[in-house]
């Protein structure tokens, strides 16, 4: 297994390099000078050139890219054009917030999604099943910012149960976690339901039932473990997605996470920060997928890799 992990990690290196190279090319191909963003509406060419020189933007692109790669390999992601702070520090400051939001949302998604999925599968075609699947479909389809604003309006402004926005205490995290989590719960519920229904129809489940096991034991001991294999894949991918894709939730709830930081970096054309965030995100994705594959192998010995 260790050999497998090491191999996967080595194979990831070209992926990371590819991602940074594409980002670098895109940033430089798209028109728009980062210095013009910095100096505002009265940009005189002399000042622009002066700052470009200071930031190393007048160097050939190959040099700029190689400088980034070599520095990144040494753990130095450079300094933000705008703030002058180390990019790694800015990411390190923003990431824990995103992680907290993602994990809380994840918890909501798993608890809600898996339980609704199980009940729906066990009580297939019941009223609960039908209504939950409609709610799940609505949950997947509704835009996250709309759900967020409605939640803020009802639970924040009208009922006053939770703070409307901001990031100051645990209480501030509840509403965003529910909004983000329920969205993912919807798809988890649908996956759990269909995976469980597939498994329930298998012969070994019929055997288990024939042995006289209680329905609870059949579902939780025999069916669920196998049904969870495709669900785990989705869960793993969703964790990476949650970590990196909570931009809208972070914006609506004014949460200072990685999503907001990346939007800011892009709008300011802060190249080192954009590069840093992309590199970090790529690594998170790769690690997320690796964890999924490992847990996959644990759950199903048949697909354990050599």
């Amino acid at each position: 297994m260790i050999q497998y992990i090491v191999r996967r990690l080595i194979f990831s290196i070209p992926v990371v390099i590819g991602v940074t190279l594409i980002t670098f090319i895109l940033l430089n191909v798209v028109p728009g000078d980062p210095v013009l963003e910095m100096v505002g509406k009265y940009a005189d060419p002399q000042t622009v050139n002066q700052i470009r020189e200071q930031l190393g933007l007048n160097d050939p692109l190959v040099i700029q890219y190689l400088r980034f790669v070599f520095n990144a390999a040494r753990g130095d992601l450079g300094k933000s054009f705008k703030t002058g702070l180390p990019v790694s520090k800015m990411i390190a400051d923003a990431f824990p917030t995103t992680l907290k939001l993602a994990l809380s949302a994840y918890l909501v998604a798993i608890i809600l999604g898996v339980s609704v999925g199980i009940i729906s599968a066990v009580k297939q075609y019941s009223f609960f099943d039908h209504s939950m699947m409609i709610v799940a479909l609505a949950g997947i389809s509704a835009p996250v910012f709309w759900v967020a604003v409605i939640a803020q309006l009802i639970f924040g402004l009208k009922l006053g149960w939770f703070p409307i926005s901001g990031y100051y205490s645990v209480k501030h995290m509840i509403l965003p976690a529910i909004v983000l989590g329920t969205r993912f719960a919807a798809s988890i519920a649908r996956y759990t339901r269909s995976a469980l229904l597939d498994v329930i129809r298998q012969d070994y489940i019929r055997t288990a039932r024939a042995k006289g096991l209680s329905e609870r034991a059949v579902i939780f001991i025999h069916a669920l473990k196998n049904a969870m294999i495709p669900v785990v894949t989705i869960l793993g991918m969703q964790l990476s997605g949650l970590l990196t894709g909570s931009i809208l939730t972070e914006s609506v709830f004014a949460i200072p996470g990685l999503g907001r930081l990346s939007v800011w970096a892009l709008s300011e054309r802060d190249y080192p920060l954009v590069q840093g965030v992309v590199l970090f995100t790529a690594v998170i994705y790769i690690l997320g997928n690796l964890i999924v594959d490992i847990s996959y192998a644990f759950l199903n010995p048949r697909i354990r890799l050599q």
Partner: protein, 517 residues
């Protein structure tokens, strides 16, 4: 009964008097939709940074309350100006301390501040403020190490000598980018200065949590006795303005910019103070005169007649907008008032006739700054153009790319807005139509450019006003180089217990005199 009435009247008067007396203490909560992340107004020219600069720093002169009239801030009195308009003599108030409570403001700090902005090694983004000073050009090129036009007389007195007369020079000194820094403290802070600013302003930076909040506390060493009234000001970062309004209605924000659609509802509740104020801005449609198609004055005229400014302003901004009668915002001396209506009143029939006269012009193009779909304003403009037979294609272009193209004069036409930095016609006319053509106007009328140069250095205010009116008449009525559409008012709501908030026409909300009852 009479006695009772007298006591009642006395009580009412007392309550009224007390209600009007500023109360010390309290923290005021405002918000920004984005965090600029830095606090150096020399480096960042966004409105947020300017608003923060008014809390943190002071300028030599400032605007008096809500007006556009200047008053001394760090100075003992308004500077004396020599007859030829070249030499300005300043005297600083004695004993002004920076936020550390130790460092005293001197003439050297003013010199340092100006030179820092102009330095070829620095990141000064508003060099234009100090460019009229004698020797600025050489200093900016690195040809001299000291600014020729700055003469220190003693620790509190100094002179600034201009290259040639420049009437709005004192206005430049009131722009937040001209905030005065401390040489000693800037040098000591080094690279961290823009994150840890220290000024002489009424508040000092207490903490900054990126993308969350910026907390300011009262400066105990502030040089104006009794001010500020507030203990602190907190700017929360709330990207969504609908959410900000919810926070305001929940009572967790003290001030909010009212979204247009919510204006009537908020006003009707009667629960809040509403501030409506004219601001220095113009929303316009500009056509690049060097573009092959837009260079045709008839096409520009047809476009000017095709846009129903009243309808456009009303549908986009409701009570927040007033139809533009000039390019320079009204209220600024030199703004040309074009009779009762806007320049080229809406006249689709006349526009249709011109388009018919033009024959087949094919598709004409305009750009939009940012977005992946057309803005409502551009949809309206496009529809109005179509109504008279102009096939106007509008292309959304990414913001930074748009800005670069605009600087290079490559934008064919665009709907945009201009928020002036100083209440002077030169800040509109000179920027858009003077030599250099920085706003993609493509304007290259030598005669007008020379008139602009002359108007800029005219010392007699009345003569100057007339000159700008003449220039603007030519630009709008004859050349139709720009179509002024409307001006936006400031629409703020504050909680009932908040008083003394100044919504200044420059777009900055000021809290020096604000207090909570």
């Amino acid at each position: 009964m009479r006695k009772f009435l007298l006591i009642f009247a006395l009580l009412v008067t007392t309550v009224f008097v007390f209600a009007q007396t500023p109360k010390k203490g309290g923290v005021l909560y405002d918000y920004w939709t984005a965090d600029r992340m830095i606090f150096d107004p020399q480096e960042d020219t966004y409105l947020q940074t300017y608003a923060m600069a008014r809390l943190l720093f002071s300028t030599l002169v400032r605007y008096k309350g809500e007006t556009l009239e200047l008053e001394p801030e760090l100075l003992v009195k308004m500077p004396e100006v020599s007859q030829d308009g070249l030499v300005y003599t300043f005297e600083l108030k004695k004993g002004i301390k920076f936020h550390d409570g130790k460092t005293e403001l001197t003439s050297d700090d003013v010199k340092f501040t100006i030179e820092r902005m102009l330095s070829p090694k620095g990141r000064g983004a508003s060099k234009w403020l100090f460019e009229p000073i004698l020797g600025a050009a050489a200093f900016m090129k690195g040809e001299s190490t000291s600014l020729e036009g700055f003469k220190k007389i003693d620790n509190y007195k100094f002179q600034i000598i201009l290259e040639k007369p420049y009437a709005p020079f004192l206005q430049n000194l009131a722009v937040p980018a001209a905030s005065i820094f401390s040489e000693k403290l800037v040098m000591a802070a080094g690279d961290s200065w823009k994150l840890k600013p220290v000024g002489t302003g009424p508040f000092r930076l207490k903490s900054h949590t990126p993308n969350t909040e910026i907390v300011f506390e009262r400066n105990p060493y502030y040089f104006e006795a009794g001010l500020p009234y507030l203990d602190g000001v907190v700017y929360r970062i709330i990207p969504d303005s609908t959410v900000a309004l919810m926070e305001f209605e929940a009572g967790t924000l003290d001030v909010v910019t009212i979204p247009v659609l919510e204006y009537e509802r908020i006003k009707k509740t009667g629960k809040y103070n509403i501030i409506e104020k004219e601001a220095l801005n113009t929303y316009y449609f500009i056509m690049n005169l060097s573009d092959p198609k837009w260079s045709n004055p008839l096409l520009r005229k047809a476009m000017a007649l095709a846009i129903n400014k009243q309808e456009m302003a009303q549908s986009l901004y409701g009570p927040r907008a007033t139809v533009a009668k000039s390019f320079v915002t009204p209220g600024i001396p030199g703004a040309y008032q074009l009779g009762e209506g806007p320049a080229y009143d809406y006249n689709p029939e006349e526009a249709k006739k011109i388009v018919a006269q033009l024959g087949n012009i094919g598709k004409v193009t305009a750009w939009q700054s940012g977005g992946d779909t057309l803005s409502d304003a551009n949809i309206i403009i496009q529809a109005m153009a179509k109504e008279v037979g102009i096939d106007l294609e509008i292309i959304p272009v990414e913001r930074a790319a748009y800005r670069q193209a605009r600087n290079e004069g490559k934008i064919p036409a665009t709907y945009a807005n201009w928020w002036a930095d100083i209440p002077d016609p030169d800040n509109y006319i000179g920027v858009f139509f003077g030599k250099g053509n920085q706003m993609s106007s493509g304007y290259n009328n030598k005669e007008i450019q020379e008139m602009i140069e002359k108007a800029r250095i005219e010392v007699d205010p009345q003569k100057r006003e007339q000159m700008y009116k003449q220039i603007e008449y030519k630009i709008i009525r004859e050349d139709i180089a720009v179509i002024p559409l409307f001006h936006l008012k400031y629409l703020l709501a504050t909680q009932k217990n908040v008083h003394g908030v100044i919504a200044h026409p420059t777009g900055i909300t000021l809290y020096l005199y604000a207090y909570k009852q």
